[in-house]
C-alpha cells in the first residue's frame, strides 16, 4: 500500500516562478511540516529555488487554512504557497 500523495498549489508569482499551478508528490521522507516542505521544494529546480528564495515573502495554507512553518503535514493534505494576499 502506498500513502496518498500531497497536493501542492501555487498562486500569483509563486505560480509564475515555479511554472506550475498544481503538483502532486509523495510526501518526501523527513518532511513533517510546512517549513520542511519549503526546504525540500527549494532544492528541486531553478524555478522552485527562485519562488522560495525569500521565505519572508511566502505565505502558506494547509487544507485551506492559513498555516505557519511549524504546521504539520500528512499524506493527502493540500498545501498552498502564495504571496501575502492583496484582495479587497
Amino acid at each position: 500500500m502506498t500513502a496518498a500523495p500531497i497536493t501542492i498549489l501555487y498562486f500569483a508569482w509563486l505560480r509564475e516562478r515555479t511554472g506550475c499551478a498544481e503538483e502532486r508528490v509523495a510526501l518526501p521522507d523527513g518532511v513533517g511540516n510546512v517549513g520542511d516542505l519549503m526546504a525540500w521544494l527549494q532544492a528541486r529546480d531553478d524555478g522552485h529555488r527562485s519562488a522560495f528564495a525569500n521565505p519572508r515573502l511566502v505565505r502558506a495554507a494547509v487544507n485551506q487554512d492559513f498555516a505557519g512553518p511549524d504546521t504539520a503535514i500528512a499524506p493527502g493534505d493540500e498545501i498552498a504557497f502564495f504571496p501575502p494576499v492583496t484582495g479587497g
Binding site: 498549489l9 498562486f11 500569483a12 508569482w13 510546512v34 517549513g35 519549503m38 521565505p55 519572508r56 511566502v58 505565505r59 502558506a60 495554507a61 485551506q64 487554512d65 492559513f66 498555516a67 505557519g68 512553518p69 498552498a80 504557497f81 502564495f82 504571496p83 501575502p84 494576499v85 492583496t86 484582495g87 479587497g88
Partner: protein
C-alpha cells in the same frame, strides 16, 4: 466570488427588508488607475475553495461581533477595467454605529485574510503583482485576533 458585475441596490434592498434594520453600512472597492502609471486592467486571482471558506468565516465573525441582522460580501475575480467595482461589503444592523464598524472590519479582514491576489496590467503591456501593504496589516490588526501567519 463572481466574474460578473454586482447590483448594489438589489443586494441592499434584500438586507433592508430584514426586520429591525435601522442602518446599512456599505463599502465598494473600485479599480483605481494611478495617474503616474495608468493601467489597462486589474487581474484578480483567487484560491477556489479556500476563498469561500475564508469569507464565510469572516462573515460569521462579523455577524457575531457586531450583532448584525444581515451581511453580504461579493468579491469579483478575473480581469477588470479601471473604474470597475471589485468588491461589495454590506452590513445591516439596528443602529448605524455597528453597521459602519462591521463594514470597516469586513473590508479590513478581506484585505488581509482572504486569498486574493491582484496584478496590474499597464498600458504598455507590462504587468506586476500588487504588493501587500503594511498599513493593511495594521488596519486589520486593530480588530484583534490572529493574523495570517508568515512562513
Amino acid at each position: 466570488m463572481s466574474e460578473a458585475e454586482f447590483d448594489v441596490a438589489a443586494e441592499m434592498g434584500e438586507l433592508a427588508n430584514s426586520g429591525g434594520v435601522g442602518g446599512i453600512g456599505c463599502f465598494v472597492g473600485v479599480v483605481r488607475s494611478d495617474v503616474a502609471r495608468p493601467i489597462s486592467a486589474l487581474e484578480l486571482e483567487h484560491y477556489p475553495g479556500m476563498t469561500e471558506r475564508a469569507i464565510g468565516r469572516i462573515v460569521a465573525q462579523a455577524e457575531a461581533r457586531f450583532g448584525l441582522l444581515g451581511c453580504t460580501v461579493i468579491h469579483r475575480v478575473g480581469r477588470l477595467p479601471p473604474g470597475a467595482r471589485i468588491v461589495l461589503v454590506l452590513a445591516a444592523s439596528a443602529h448605524r454605529a455597528a453597521s459602519l464598524e462591521a463594514t470597516a472590519f469586513l473590508i479590513d479582514w478581506l484585505k488581509t485574510r482572504a486569498p486574493f491576489w491582484k496584478r496590474e496590467v499597464y498600458l504598455d503591456g507590462e504587468a506586476s503583482w500588487v504588493l501587500a501593504l503594511d498599513e493593511d496589516e495594521q488596519a486589520a490588526a486593530r480588530w484583534g485576533g490572529e493574523v495570517g501567519a508568515g512562513v
